[in-house]
Structure formats: C-alpha cells, structure tokens
C-alpha cells in the first residue's frame, strides 16, 4: 500500500488558481508568434509541454476555446488586409491562405495532445477542421471578399477568353482552397448566369 500512497500523492498536482491562465498565456503567445512569422525561436518542446499539461489537468476546454478565439482574432486581421488589397486580390488571398494553412499546421503540432485526447473524448471538431471552418466563416463568407472573389475569378476567365495569359497556378490554388473548404459549389452558385462557363473553365484549371 505504500506504493499506492505514493501515487495518490503524486497524482494530485498542485494546481494554483491561475495555473491554467498562465499556461494558456504561454500557448497564446506561441500562436501569436506563429501567425506573425516569428516562429524561428519558438520551442516546440515548451509549447507542447504547456499544451499537454493543460489538457492533462482537464483544462482542455479552455485550451480549445482559447484556440478558436485567438485564431479568429488573427483571421479578422487577415480579412482586413485581404479586403484592402487593391489590384492583386487573388494574390493576396492566396498568400494569406498559404500562410494560414502553414500556421495552422504548426499550431496543430503544438496542440497535438488536445487533438489526440480531448477532441475525440469530448466529441469536438478536430483542429484541422476547426481551422478550415474558421477561414471559411471569417474570410470566404465575408460579403466583401465573396464579391471580390467572384468578380476576380470571372475577370481572370474573361481575360483568358480574350486571349491573355493568366496565372494558372494562382487560379488552381484558389479553386483548390474553395474545394477544400467545401464552398466551391456555394461560391459558384452565387453567379448563376455564368455557372456553366465557369465550370467549363475551371475543369481544366483545377485538374
């Protein structure tokens, strides 16, 4: 029984009242750095450990909600930046999208334990999907961006029809993003009149 006693003592970790807050601040700082491209000096070991400890001590929900809030904040900044992009809207959108997916991959790395344990046992949406959903809700579903997106796409197609050379890689990336988000159909349907034109045009672009 001496063994048991030891375990009991050990498993009761001293958790100060602000333990979770402090730990979350470490993680949040890491996430901010990742989004701000200051991640060269970040320690995965430290961030993973913090995230692991939070979930281990059943602060998984706090971490999960905190993640959503933080990512949303950064998405709002991105939205403004994309919306204010004048000439190169598709470029800017594509650049932000690439940044975003890379950042989310890193965030998934440090929050892996939450994805492994908290998410399945609490029937939450996995982080990858959360990331896509947030991007869709805050960027693609923004009225201004949606209009810009459709217009830009149509314009590109029109230009190509007129014999100009357009950036196929960029188009492909944007279409891939829409497909990944599951809003491809949705965005297309908002431009009924050109639907078949676009589908025809995109088929070879996307393939």
């Amino acid at each position: 029984m001496s063994n048991q006693r030891k375990i009991l003592k050990l498993s009761r970790i001293e958790v100060e009242p602000n333990y979770a807050d402090r730990t979350w601040q470490i993680i949040e700082h890491g996430i901010n750095q990742i989004f701000n491209h200051n991640d060269r000096e970040l320690s995965m070991e430290e961030l993973y450990r913090a995230a692991y400890n939070m979930v281990l001590h059943r602060f998984g929900e706090m971490q999960y909600n905190g993640l959503v809030v933080t990512v949303t904040r950064h998405l709002e900044e991105m939205r403004k930046s994309i919306e204010s992009a004048e000439g190169s809207f598709l470029d800017e959108l594509n650049r932000k999208w690439t940044d975003y997916t890379e950042s989310m991959q890193k965030i998934r790395d440090i929050l892996m334990y939450m994805d492994r344990s908290y998410v399945p046992t609490h029937h939450k949406t996995p982080i990858k999907e959360v990331g896509l959903n947030l991007w869709r809700d805050h960027i693609i579903h923004s009225a201004k961006i949606q209009t810009l997106l459709v217009d830009s796409l149509l314009e590109e197609i029109h230009r190509e029809r007129m014999g100009e050379v357009i950036n196929h890689g960029l188009m492909r990336n944007v279409i891939k993003m829409l497909t990944e988000l599951g809003v491809y159909q949705e965005v297309l349907e908002s431009i009924n009149a050109f639907e078949d034109v676009i589908i025809n045009s995109f088929k070879y672009l996307a393939l």
Binding site: L8, R12, R40, M44, E45, Y48, N53, S117, T121
Partner: protein, 811 residues
Amino acid sequence: MTSKPLSSHHHRLSSRSFMSSLSSPPPLPPPTIAPMPPLQPDRGAEMRQMDCNLASLCEHIQAEGFGSGAFSDVSVEAMGSTYRLHRLILSRSAYFRNMLQGPWKEAGAPTVVLQIDDPNVNSEAISICLAYIYGQSPKLTDNNAYRVLASASFLDLQDLCAICTDFIISELWTSNFLQYQIFAESQDYGMHGERVRSACWGYLCQSATMELREVLPKLSAQTLHALVTSDELWVPNEEKRFELALHTLLAKGTISEEEENSSSIIKGKTVIGNSSTEQLMESELLHLQIQDNLGSYKPAQSNRINLSDCMAEFQSGVPFSNTVLDGANAKRNAADPTIDCPSPSGNSSMYKFNESIWPRDCSSSSPTNEPLPSMPLWANGTVGRRQVKNNAATKGRSCLLPSDEYEAFMNIFEGGSLLYCNMSFEALLNVRKQLEEFGFPCKALNDGLWLQMLLCHRVQAVVADTCRKCCLTTNLCACSQTYTFTHGGGGVNYYRQDNDRSTSPGSSNINIGNIYLSEAQGDGGSLFGSSRVHRGGADGLAGIGRGSTSPGSSAAWAPTRFVFSRVPVGLGTRTESETARLDHNAEISGDGLTVLVGLSEERVYDPSSMSSRFSGPAGAVSGMSGTQVQMVDSREENGLGLSPDWEISEESQETSTISLDFKTPLSHFTPFRFGVEFEDVHQLTDGQVKHSPEVFYAGSLWKVSVQAFNDEDPQGRRTLGLFLHRRKAEVTDPLRKAHMYIDSREKVTARYKLICPSKREVMVFGSLKQAGTLLPKAPKGWGWRTALLFDELGDLLQGGSLRIAAVVQVV
C-alpha cells in the same frame, strides 16, 4: 419447476458486434522483437530469408542503435538521463517528428532536452518508451504500467498506450483499484485514460457492495454520487444501497477525523460556491423549523467560517478539506438551533414553519462574504424529536465533510439516488431513523412512502380493470367488450372529470366514477387547454381504457418525477384555482410531470437535482410526441379513472402539501432495482438452470435465472442465457401480509434491463426506454438465450460468481 425460456427476442450477436468494435485488442500482444510469423509452406525460402534479414535489422537497431548509441545524430535528455539516439528512428513518434522537422528551435539542435511535468512519468518509464520506439517490447508491471502509459501518452506512442491500457485492465484488482481510479479520474489521458476509467467503473459497479466496499469513502464525491445513483451498481436491494451509502458517510467522517489529527494547516481551500448547493440549502432551510431559544440568535454568526481553520490533508490525494466552524461550539450551543424534520406522523406543533428566522441567502449573510464551505446544519444541533446531539460520538464526525462531499450525500439521500419507494416499510422506518440522526430532512423518504402506497393502489386498480381470461385491459378484452370508442380528430382533446372531488382516499381506488382523460399529453402545450367535458358517472365503467393500443406498439414514456411538490403552509396553494393549476401543468407536461401544485411560487425543492436520475429517459422521450404516446397515456389514465388530484390533508396541515395523483400511469413510477448473484455458473451443464431468490415488487414476485445452452450460438459456442421471471405474489408469510398486495394477472407488461457489470465492460440487456414486454406466464421467463458466452465468463465473474443487476418497471 423447470423454466423453459420462451424466446429470445434480442440476440446477443447484434450487441456483441457493437461491443467488439468498442473493445480493445486482446490484452498484451507484445510486439515481438523480431516478427516471425509462422512459416507457411508456400512462402518458401525467400520469405524465410527476408524474415531473417528483418530480425537481424531489428537486432542491429536495438543493440547498436539504442544500446550503444552508434551513429547517433541527436541526444535526448529526459528525467536525468541522456540517450544518444537517431532522428530517423525517433520520427516514429509524431511528437519527435513534429519537433525535429518543424520550424522549431529544437529542429536542428544536437540535443533535445525534454522536461516532463507529469508526476506519473519517471525515468524508467521514459526509457521503456524510447526502447519501444526502437522496437523493444515493454516489460510492464503493476508498478510501472501507469507510468509507461503516461509517458507514452506524452510522446504520442498510441500503440504503446493501448498495450499499457490492456495490461492495466487485465490486472485491475481490489488491491490496486483506487490507484487506477484516481489516475484516470484526475488526469486526462484521452481515450486510453477513458478506457481505464470505464474499466474501473465496471469493476466498481460489480464489486462496490462487497470487495471494494472499503474503497468507497476514498472516491471523489462525484464518482460516489454517480455510483450510488447508478442502475449499473450491483447491490441486492434498495436497503443495501442505503446501507452502502451510510457506511460510506460514516467512513468518510472517520477519515476526515483521522486526517484532521495529523494534518498540517495549509491555506484555506477556496470552496467553490456551488449555486446548486446553495439553492438546495436554501430550499432545505425553508423546511426547517428552527427553534430559537435565545431570540437574539444570529445565524450569520454561528455559521461564520474562519477559512484559516479549514484544514486539508493532501496526503491521500483526494482533496479532503475539513472545515471547522469559527467560534466553535460555544456559540452554536448557546444558540441551540433545533432542526426539525417534517414528519407526517409528527406532533404538528413541532413543525411550525418560521421562515424569517433564517436568512434566505446563506452566503450573503456571512460577514466575510465567503461561501460557506461546510454548512453542516444538519449535524449542528438537535434534530427532529430525537434530539440527537451532533457531537455525540461517531455521528458528529460527519459534520467535518466539506461542502462538495456534503452535497453528494445530500443528493444521495434526498436527491433521488435511492428509490425509497421500493423499500419495505420496516426498512423505511429504520432508514428514517438513521437519516434523522444525521439531520437529513427525509423528504425524499417520505415521498417514497406515499409513492409506495400510490403504486399499490394503482396496481390494484389496474388489476381490477384487467380481464382475467385474456390479460388485457377491459376495453381491449374481446371477452366482454360492449362499448367501442373511436378517437375524435387529431386536434380534439378530452378532459373528462367527475365533479365529485370529495372522494376519500381510502376508497379512491375503487371509485371509477372520475374519469380523467387526456389524450394529448405528448403534445405538451395544448394539453390542458383543451375542452372539458363533464361526464356522468353512469358510463364510467364502460369507458375504461378506450383507445388503447396493444402494449407492444406504444412508445416510451418518460417516468414521472417522483417528487411531489411541497409548499409551505401559508402560501395558499390549496386555494389556487383549478384553472391556474391546469395551466401550470400544461407548461411542464412535456417532462411527463403530473400535477405539481404551486411549484412556480416557491421552488422548495430543486427539481434539477431530482430529475438528474431521469435525465436520460426524459431527454430521450422529449421528441417522441406521437399518437402512440397519447394512446398509452389515455389508456392508462382512462382505465383508472380516479380522481385526478388528491391532496393529502394530514400532510397539508403541517409543513407542506403533497399532491399525489391517481392518474399517474404505472410507467411513471420509479423502476424497481434488485441484484442477484449466481455462483459457479461456469460449472453449469447444458440446459441446466440456476434461479435467484424471488423479490417482491408491484404485486408480483420477480427473479432472474441463468441457463446454459450449447445450441443457440450460430458458431456453436456455449452460451449462458439470462432470463427474467415474474409470477403473481402469494401472501404466505403472515408477517409480511401488511405490505404485500397481489397483482393477480397471469401476465404483465414490463420493461426491464439486466445489467452485468464487469471491468471488461458493463453489459446491458434490454432498456427502460422500450415500450414493454408482455412477460409470459410463470414459470416461464423472458430474456436472452445468448446473452453471455461461456469462454468470456472468466472476465465477467467476480470470485467465481456472476452478478446481475436488474431493473424492472411494470407499465
């Protein structure tokens, strides 16, 4: 009496396939160092050579790589040890892979320093995990399995986690139960932790009454409450369940005292002011008549708690905190608050309700404005007429319980965990005596007694209404059908009620003149707003049970909350107009509640705590408002035709009013739970049967039997069938005659479940959400021929015996 089970309407196969998808791989298939599958003749020398090659590669990696650190390209420092390792091999773990290939500081570093804060992780466990990455099979013991699990969980070695979990589950015994329970409960190890936790739960349900009894006081309040409440807990009967809870309460008090003696004072533990506790407490207080002998007594003073006196002993790991009242006993004794329990049989002068003497909001009245952690009101002063001093010997210990513990026990004893209505009268007397000594208000218990009487009346009324030939209610019975009735259009609701409401309680069960018909109960809102049709008493009998369907087709119905509202005297509930009451009922009828009087005025009892037991069934039923529901309801209500609302006059003269209801369908009553045990089941020969002793419930005698079969499983495996038997009660023992009544029907419809808890899984057969099964005539039983497989019995038995918890509800 040979019981030949009639049929098996639910094959184990379907549930098995479901279970097997949940269950883990078989315990400990150790990953062999060199995977050498049995050589098949057709594979030839080439394959054999390849296996050889693989084996030598594995050996090389382990010996040269992990053992000697040859060609190491990264060092890992963890828990005081340095390992010279290899990126390629480490990348088998997602943790290392992400770390070594991402944009991180560690990615290119020659040395990775791992700091692991989880105290369950130690150096040996890390070493086992790293060796596992290099292909070595872990050597698990009782002492390191959980440590390896914690380490593997941190390093994201899912396979190793599964191996550890399998080991822990297969080696879960009385001696180490608590350590694993706390391990899995206090930390989140994801699905592996959950598997350990559910294994602990199954084991606890199976053995809490016997082998694990002494562990109960050390469980968390939450787990303890869940356990005592659960149908899955194997316990012979409701009295034993109470004894178990009481034993735990006493033992907890003892533990608290012991720890107080040896404790170091630490900073006061902030006890979360749980609003539901306060709500509950507040509501309790409204019922407590406090005799204030001094007149100047200030409750706030006597309850002030000096947090510096709060003591907690953390050695046990369970956060016990002993709260000590400031000012100690002197002030309290001077004040000498007397707490009275409402008692139907009590001297009414003792039960004056004096609300003003006690603050409505306990926490705000505290001078320090701190939440009151302990609130051991119920152990403070004299209690009831028994005048038991709380500091008298052992009983006084319980007042040291912290508030979450207190709340758990309050919920257990008063909040619906115990189904008092299924206890015998003698047991109730005894239980009441003991609860009074602890100062529990005993309201749930009193309600249970009323409910018991009501159930008796209802069963007898149903019996009187049932054709003896065909076992159907009179309206369905072709033997004497004289009156047919067709339902009106869907929107028509009938409310039929005899004006004669002065029916005396004693004769009410044979008063069939009052017809209460409510077809649309499932519709919720529209229910009682319907037209009311006065109906003469003359055709009362003819109308019984019209519109019913065959029992099998009816949908599930949420059980009525078996709490009756209690309203303090003076709140004028009896003068409430009937219309208002009906409107009120309509609001809440969606929950399957019967008439609750005056609930909106005074939430005397916190319904949320009461309903917690039934939250599942109620929730499941909320969406099912179909005609079937209505029909069931109308059949049962119509068939009884008793006065819809009966106020118990004696009770109402005292502190509260109980509104019992004679239209309550049988399915609204609490189910009956009992536990049976079969010894040496594995020795049963084919066809051999074992019967449990019979227990009495709702006018019938019930038992469970097991029978061995060799011809039921499609794959030819031997199976063990589980069957429920029911026969009409016989009053043979004159001593018990007073409490026995007889349901003389040959067949009754019941819903039931048979639960076999074990650490492997908690197997549940049947459901209380189903419509009900027409149980065959005694001595036949009804159940599952292929419930259990003989080869699996080893995992399910405890000390060689099979424990089955049964839950039955006559509908």
